[in-house]
């Protein structure tokens, strides 16, 4: 479903991703972990078609990036730590806008469904400006699933959320992941993702340093595994 081969990304003379190989099967939920500055956000932006690779191949749902970006975008839903919402519009208007630019049919029905899914049906006519961070993040997820994408990318979605909001977010995430969607989520929070993910990949110094499936590891040893992986990565 997602595949990168020898992916390289340079900013001027600085190389952030050094020949990264990455593969995700349909339905997998991969937690992408790594220290700050490892390149997680850069990698996710490339997968999201928001940045171009310097070298290497990227394929999503069989389509190549950046050549077939439009086809990829139709099947891709992205949630970053910025909400990507317009504060001066209501929740409903925000969703309607995105429904329009994605060219969806049955917009009204779909908007209703999504608002229900993320638990914001009561607040549909409220300005997004008045939403708490947790509510904005939930609406952002709503925006991302509006066009029913096959693949979802989350960049540190729990940033800035309190316990209650995080728990609510987890519920939504489980719901979203349940429909056989392929998910890649970057995170700092090992504990959080331990419950959600089916696989843990560790990005360190520009490549995937280690990868382990949920079933193959005891959640308690996850932290140790992580620490070891980031130390061993070649520079």
């Amino acid at each position: 479903m997602i595949e990168t081969r020898k992916l390289v990304k340079r900013f001027g003379v600085k190389t952030v991703l050094r020949g990264l190989d990455f593969q995700v099967q349909e339905g997998e939920f991969v937690a992408l972990l790594g220290p700050n500055g490892a390149g997680k956000t850069t990698f996710l932006r490339i997968l999201a078609s928001l940045a171009r690779p310097t070298l290497g191949e990227v394929r999503i749902s069989g389509f190549r990036l950046p050549a077939q970006a439009a086809a990829v975008r139709q099947r891709l839903g992205v949630v970053s730590h910025l909400p990507l919402l317009y504060g001066d519009l209501t929740a409903e208007e925000n969703l309607r806008f995105y429904a329009r630019i994605y060219g969806l049919r049955h917009q009204d029905r779909r908007i209703d469904e999504v608002l229900g899914l993320v638990g914001l049906a009561q607040r549909r006519r409220d300005l997004v400006r008045t939403f708490s961070r947790g509510m904005q993040q939930r609406l952002a997820i709503g925006r991302a699933v509006l066009h029913d994408p096959d693949v979802m990318l989350f960049d540190e979605p729990h940033t800035g959320l309190d316990q209650e909001a995080s728990a609510m977010l987890d519920n939504v995430l489980r719901d979203v992941a349940a429909r056989n969607r392929t998910v890649v989520m970057t995170s700092h929070d090992l504990v959080r993702v331990a419950d959600l993910a089916s696989r843990f990949d560790i990005l360190s110094r520009g490549i995937i340093a280690a990868s382990v499936k949920r079933q193959d590891i005891d959640p308690n040893s996850l932290l140790a595994f992580y620490r070891q992986a980031i130390q061993e990565a070649p520079s």
Binding site: F11, G12, V13, K14, S235
Partner: protein
């Protein structure tokens, strides 16, 4: 580290000699113009500088298009180098023009099409440099620079045209006669020779400085790379 190419050293030498020859020509081997006197001699270097100033514009636009199409860093360095050099040449041209204008037209400045357009071009150059300064990502800096260079280059003929039409429909008279007519003169063969030679010399200076600047750009990149290697 790369050593300075032999050819560049030769070019340096040749350029300096040519400049000396040109200066000598202007002061010792060219007749003094009848009406304007000695100040007319500014003209030889003034036009050459203006020509080179405009050359830089074209070079940066072409380099800009090339960069957008190929994404190669070298084109970006060429574009930036052209602008950096030409901004100085154009400034010299404007100032020498002013020096010439004062005794001849009795004013430091007029708003005729050529001068006004030159001033605007200089401002576009400055804007280009300010734009680059405000961007940290080198790739974005190069892309935006390329786009602005192209936009600037295309706007200049339109700007010139608009001010030209402005002048034809409402001819503004300074003093007693049209100033551009007042400043013109016919060139004797000796003058023409000096004039063409000056053009040649300044083209050499442009090429020489451009080469140096491009080289400097590449070396700066190398330094960045080495810095990264050491700190990682």
């Amino acid at each position: 580290m790369e050593t300075k190419p032999r050819l560049l050293t030769i070019l340096d030498g040749v350029t300096i000699i040519l400049l000396a020859v040109a200066t000598a020509l202007v002061f010792f081997f060219t007749p003094i113009e009848a009406v304007m006197g000695n100040v007319q001699k500014v003209f030889y270097f003034h036009v050459a500088n203006a020509w080179v100033g405009m050359l830089g514009f074209m070079a940066s636009a072409i380099a800009g298009i090339a960069y957008l199409r190929t994404g190669k860093r070298s084109w970006d360095i060429v574009g930036m180098a052209s602008v950096e050099i030409s901004v100085v040449f154009l400034l010299i041209a404007i100032v020498t023009g002013s020096i010439w204008a004062r005794p001849v037209w009795n004013t430091w400045w007029t708003w005729d099409p050529r001068l006004t357009t030159a001033a605007i071009m200089e401002l576009i150059y400055a804007a280009y440099l300010l734009l680059r300064q405000g961007i940290e990502d080198p790739d974005r800096r190069a892309r935006f620079g390329a786009v602005y260079a192209i936009l600037g280059f295309i706007s200049v003929p339109l700007t010139f045209l608009s001010i030209r039409i402005f002048r034809t429909i409402h001819p503004v008279v300074i003093g007693n006669a049209d100033p551009s007519a007042q400043g013109s003169f016919d060139m004797s063969p000796a003058m023409l020779r000096t004039f063409m030679f000056s053009l040649l010399v300044f083209s050499f200076i442009f090429a020489d400085l451009l080469w140096h600047r491009i080289r400097l750009g590449h070396l700066a990149d190398k330094v960045e790379q080495l810095k990264l290697k050491v700190t990682q």
